[in-house]
């Protein structure tokens, strides 16, 4: 168990160190996220009245789109420079590699959230520093990344890899999007807790089911 965690930590550390030196992922995801917010601003005409009701939708669309960018890139780097083969040659449990990659991807998307939330606060004056909302973001991103990392590992090995990931990922990730948007707008509108609980439960179920499923099938994706 200890060795497993060390492997996992090493993969995460490798991704964070590479990112710290190149700053490729966070910068492109961050700029992309800001652009998505601006596009929504003009596309939806976010005036104060509609703002509160669509804010959570805008947030989640931003996370999902910039998340796809990050998931694609983090796997493409491994594939292009032959790092994935090196990782797979290492005599360690391969699911530790999966969890390491997933955790690193999760950290990247949460970093984007940490950029997006204050920006939205400044631009729209909606207070987004709500503990409930932060919990929803944590749960939603976990579910999205659990299935996203698995599918990215698959998409990167195909001919049409860059365009394939969203097509594979979005239909599967719809429940996590629905539940996360509903729970987020519930917390933002401060509706009674018992109306939010079903959505939180659904998020939890999605997280558990997809983390477990990815854990079980990841070996089949990377074997050669």
């Amino acid at each position: 168990m200890n060795a497993y965690l060390r492997t996992l930590g090493a993969v995460v550390w490798k991704d964070l160190a590479a990112e710290w030196r190149s700053r490729e992922l966070i910068s492109s995801m961050g700029v992309f996220a800001l652009l998505v917010i601006f596009i929504f601003n003009f596309a939806l005409d976010l005036d104060p009245k509609t703002r509160s009701s669509v804010m959570s939708g805008v947030l989640w669309a931003t996370f999902i789109f910039s998340g796809t960018l990050g998931l694609n890139r983090s796997m493409a780097i491994e594939k292009d420079r032959g790092c994935l083969d090196g990782l797979l040659l290492a005599p360690v449990d391969r699911t530790a590699i999966y969890f390491g990659k997933a955790l690193a991807n999760m950290i990247f998307i949460l970093a984007i959230a940490a950029i997006v939330l204050p920006v939205c606060f400044i631009l729209y004056g909606v207070n987004l520093f709500n503990p409930g909302l932060l919990l929803v973001i944590l749960l939603g991103v976990e579910g999205y990344v659990a299935v996203g990392t698995l599918l990215a590992a698959m998409a990167v090995q195909t001919r049409t890899r860059d365009i394939l990931l969203p097509i594979l990922l979005f239909p599967v990730a719809i429940p996590v999007l629905v539940a996360a948007v509903k729970a987020s707008s519930g917390f933002l509108a401060a509706i009674p807790m018992e109306e939010i609980t079903p959505w939180l439960n659904l998020l939890l179920v999605f997280d558990v089911v997809f983390t477990a499923a990815a854990f079980m099938v990841f070996d089949y994706i990377v074997e050669e």
Binding site: L150, Q157, R159, T160, I167, P171, P175, Y220
Partner: protein
């Protein structure tokens, strides 16, 4: 090259006869529904097509798991065939549903759990075909296909429940009557019999199509091997 097996020929005949008989029952035997009128007749094949669609997707998951365990090429053919058939019949289900919904709900489309889930399933399995299209190595294609069929199928109930928390107007066919459901009706015995025959007929049709599709896949595989032998 093998000739068509006897069993398949009999299955073809049985499926054809069953669908013809079901069509006769729908138009000649089942009474016209009192409130909805003739349009209700779409119900028999609407539900039967949805049943075949679900059967196809379920078969694909079973075949996917079986492929990952046994690594037999035939399981991949079963999975691919089942998903292709499932896609077509789910589309028939959605289109006939729209035809029924227009006069009864006064709209072609509503964001109801069943409608939305059926459509998202179509998207999942279209993605499945695109994933296969992007892979050249047959072994990897089979492996990834099996994994995606499993992942896609797991998400189906979650999608359904996520949208079900909104209210639904789609009537339940089996068990329970929701007073808010719109366009539900009670079946007379003749309607029930027609419905049962339609389900059986479509199941036969599914089995026949799947068998044909698996044979086609096997023949394509043989042709591929012959060509490799000739070019070497």
């Amino acid at each position: 090259m093998k000739t068509q097996p006897r069993g398949l020929l009999y299955l073809d005949i049985a499926a054809f006869a069953a669908v013809a008989f079901a069509t006769y029952m729908v138009f000649g035997y089942a009474p016209v529904e009192r409130v909805m009128g003739l349009v209700q007749k779409v119900f028999y094949f609407h539900v039967a097509a949805g049943w075949v669609g679900m059967l196809g997707y379920l078969a694909a998951v079973v075949a996917g798991v079986a492929y990952l365990v046994t690594r037999k090429h035939n399981w991949d053919l079963v999975g691919l065939g089942a998903i292709e058939i499932g896609l077509v019949f789910m589309l028939i289900n959605i289109v006939t549903g729209s035809i029924w919904a227009r006069p009864i709900w006064n709209t072609w489309w509503t964001w109801d759990p069943r409608l939305t889930t059926a459509t998202i399933m179509e998207l999942v399995y279209v993605a499945y075909l695109m994933l296969r299209g992007g892979l050249e190595d047959p072994e990897r294609r089979a492996r990834f296909g099996a994994v995606y069929a499993i992942i896609g199928f797991i998400s189906v109930p979650l999608t359904f429940f996520s949208i079900r928390i909104y209210r639904t107007i789609h009537p339940l066919v089996i068990g329970g009557s929701d007073p808010t459901a719109n366009g539900s009706f009670s079946m007379t015995p003749a309607m029930g019999q027609t419905f049962a025959v339609s389900l059986v007929a479509f199941s036969f049709l599914f089995a026949a199509l799947l068998w044909h599709r698996i044979r086609l896949g096997q023949l394509a595989h043989q042709v591929e091997q012959q060509r490799m032998r000739l070019t070497q």
